[in-house]
């Protein structure tokens, strides 16, 4: 990459050296592509094989020596079988409801909380903030035992989607992330608005939120993906089949079709496809969002 910087001294045989350098660059490029393709294969192969398996009919071997990867007679029968046995459409709608509601309200609540931590002076600020940070190390599974009791006896939302939304309405990670974003907004902007007589809530909504939009997108994406793929807590809360979300439904399917690899594969593909489509459309935001979180 950087060879050009070193070639400042005059050299004999410039032409020969240039040719050698060019050859080396081509070899290097081929090496890197080979490596990148190899890693891509490792990344994609398990999922690609699952997709191919899901398209195989009963006469297509899953397991054969020598290997048979492609379905000879591709069919959607496996999908139809899963669709008939399980309320997949309900799983999908439930997942959408939970993820959208959780993400919207979580970003709203954490953006509200992050603002005073970044820009206001008040009694107890640092104590509250460090207490919040300390909860970061609490394993979520610890909270599930009391959470279960709360869901059944106090909030009465056991076996409803509310049980998945309420406990996730605020996350310490998002408060921390958005606090960093608010901190980087110049104070002049807020002072000028105050001189104009704007209330704190209006400053927050009309001036600050538009400025920190990239960070809001990051927080939203992280929350959405986490919520979409959440499994353990939803599996405890949703015993009734039609109430389940996609990952919990997939686990139920795996129990029913344990020996039927084709149906299991179809279920896996149906679970991954929605979030994969979202990823393809929002690829750049996804990747930037996830990495932006670290600097926070």
């Amino acid at each position: 990459m950087n060879q050009t910087h070193t070639a400042a001294r005059p050299q004999p045989n410039v032409a020969a050296r240039n040719a050698a350098r060019k050859r080396r660059q081509i070899t290097e490029t081929i090496f890197w592509y080979a490596l990148l393709l190899f890693i891509a294969a490792i990344t994609i192969l398990p999922l690609a094989w699952t997709l191919l398996t899901s398209l195989k009919g009963p006469n297509d071997a899953i397991f054969a020596v020598p290997l048979q990867l492609l379905p000879k007679d591709p069919t959607l029968d496996n999908y139809a079988r899963v669709w008939k046995q399980l309320p997949v459409a309900n799983f999908f709608i439930n997942s959408i409801i939970v993820s959208v509601a959780t993400t919207t309200l979580n970003v709203l609540f954490t953006a509200l909380a992050a603002y005073p931590f970044a820009k206001m002076k008040f009694w107890g600020r640092d104590v509250i903030f460090y207490l919040l940070l300390a909860t970061f190390i609490v394993p979520p599974q610890l909270t599930y035992i009391p959470g279960f009791v709360l869901a059944r006896n106090v909030f009465q939302y056991y076996d409803t989607l509310l049980a998945l939304i309420f406990p996730n309405l605020a996350t310490v990670f998002n408060i921390f992330l958005l606090r960093q974003a608010f901190k980087s907004v110049p104070n002049d902007l807020i002072d000028a608005a105050k001189i104009d007589g704007a209330s704190e809530l209006r400053i927050w909504w009309q001036i600050l939120l538009p400025v920190i939009r990239p960070s809001l997108a990051t927080a939203a994406i992280i929350t959405f993906v986490t919520s979409w793929n959440d499994f353990l807590w939803p599996s405890l809360m949703l015993p009734t089949m039609v109430n389940k979300t996609l990952p919990v439904g997939l686990a139920a399917l795996q129990g029913m079709f344990a020996s039927d690899l084709r149906a299991t594969a179809a279920g896996i593909v149906m679970t991954i496809i929605p979030i994969l489509i979202l990823f393809i459309f929002l690829q750049r935001q996804f990747v930037r969002g996830m990495t932006g979180a670290v600097k926070g």
Binding site: I39, L47, T50, I62, V65, G147, F231, A251, L276, V294
Partner: protein, 291 residues
Amino acid sequence: MTKKLNLTPYLFLAPALLVIGVFILYPIFAVVYYSFTDFNIVTPPVWTGLKNYTQLFQDDVFWLALRNSFIYLLVTPILIILCILLAIAVNRKLPGINAFRAIYYVPVISGSIAVGYAWRMLFDTNGLINGVLLSAGLLQEPIQWLAEPALTLPLAMSLTIWLGLGFYMMIFLAGLQNIPEELYDAALIDGCNAFQKHWNVSLPGLRPQIVFVAVISSLAAIEVFNEIYTLTGGLGGILNSGVTMVFYLWKQAFRLQHAGYASALAIVLLVITLLFSVFNIRSLERGSEQD
């Protein structure tokens, strides 16, 4: 600043603090209380003092789970090394490099349950792995990957690593792109080869990312559940070979209805994550003193 107590900041904080108070802070105190009781999660808890703890320390499965959880922490150094190498590989201006980065990211968003079940199929006796090995003549007999106790943890750990590659790679990539180009030029002028260049410039430059990944991935390793659940079909593996702290907590609390006992387990787990984080933060501070 005005001396009068201004309510505005507290109003901004109220919704989030309420949620965290009810769903994280209150549960800590509740779990401490439950850990001293006999509790089946449905009928009211009955005080039994230290019984759960004395029983826990005599429980072979608890010690096995503790051991397994510590073994699981090995994913952290492996992830750090692999993902730094991967980030260096994708940190170059080649046509199509963004497509590669996106592909490496697919497992991250696919979710550990779906991917876990895909792996379960892959390592099925009739799965792709045996198919490839047999077709290539590397095996005479299919291996029972999922039924071999010695393989449960390594398989789950490989799955965790495979799921995390793209995510941690992106973090290191962002770190690499923040390192000023001049530092690499200086290293070249000093006569560093490619390896020395990364050893002397990239690694020190990535220190904040390394600390971040160490903290996040080791917490995730201690809290691992989905990989074990999918690969062992919810059973924890033969002879409890895949039972980790969190898996055992779940099994005791929600499969066997021993919520009091599971609470004692949860408290031990909390103490471990606490000690671990203190250790992490202290090594972080030591690191920043050096810089």
